[in-house]
Amino acid sequence: MLNEISITHILFVSTALFFIGVYGLLTRRNLITILMSVELMLNSVNINFVAFNKYLFPEKMDGIFFSIFIIAIAAAEAAVAIAIIINLYRSHQSIDVEDASEMKY
């Protein structure tokens, strides 16, 4: 079932997803949508790990474990990010990233 889909197809998918996430990161003005784009990037990395594990080293399970831990850490990071966004909203009354430019020249 897998002989016709080689690893490169899956890698194409994950690459495209990653760079879609990068585009979102660079373009979006709302902090929550930026967080969403970061989640997309993390997920594309997960796909990569599992694909490498399955096609190149099926006897080991390292890729799966990496993905499990990435999911756990991404959850923690999303929680902390939301907390920061809430804090920023309290001080600036907006979560537009263009408004948070105090560190400029």
């Binding site: 889909i5 495209a16 997309l40 099926p58 991404a74």
Partner: protein
């Protein structure tokens, strides 16, 4: 063209379309839903790749936890009403160009690399995952497991502290 190939292409299309929706939608809830479908698509891809446990974890944690969290935060920051502002044109063009260029570059790289497919059997039963997770020998993951639990504790405490209302603002709001 076997069924699995077609299923793979469908899943990929779902993932990528939903991803594009997530990053370009003008209304924030549409973006959140786009993200939701993208994550579900990824779980389907995991099912297709025969890692059932990971797919289940993906649905439970990502879809059921993180997307819900994001939707709560949208409510908490009063974003649910108006449309999202458009990005700056200069930045948009620059980003599109660089992203397209990057995709082309990496795909070129991937094409040129010759991967050797191994013929072994891919066994990912929960029993095996569980045994490996709590194994304390050199290929076991007991230590990262414990460390991640500490990390989760730290993240929990941290986000509570950051998001906590300080005493002055509480009193001001009471006045």
């Amino acid at each position: 063209m076997s069924a699995s190939v077609i299923i793979f292409y469908c899943i990929s299309a779902l993932i990528l379309t939903a991803g594009v929706v997530a990053v370009t939608a003008r209304k924030i809830f549409r973006a959140a839903i786009g993200l939701l479908f993208s994550l579900i698509g990824i779980a389907a891809l995991f099912f297709w790749m025969d890692v059932n446990f990971l797919a289940a974890v993906q649905i439970v944690v990502y879809v059921g936890g993180i997307v819900v969290l994001i939707i709560f935060s949208i409510f908490l920051t009063d974003q649910s009403g108006s449309e999202l502002p458009k990005p700056i044109l200069k930045r948009q063009i620059f980003s599109i160009l660089s992203v397209v260029f990057a995709i082309a570059f990496v795909c070129n790289l991937i094409n040129r690399t010759s991967f050797y497919h191994s013929k072994d059997i891919f066994d990912t039963s929960v029993k095996r995952i569980g045994n490996a997770m709590l194994d304390t020998n050199s290929v076991g993951y007991a230590l990262p497991f414990e460390v991640v639990s500490i990390l989760l504790l730290a993240a929990m405490i941290g986000s509570i502290v950051i998001a906590m209302k300080s005493k002055n603002t509480k009193q001001e709001k009471l006045k």
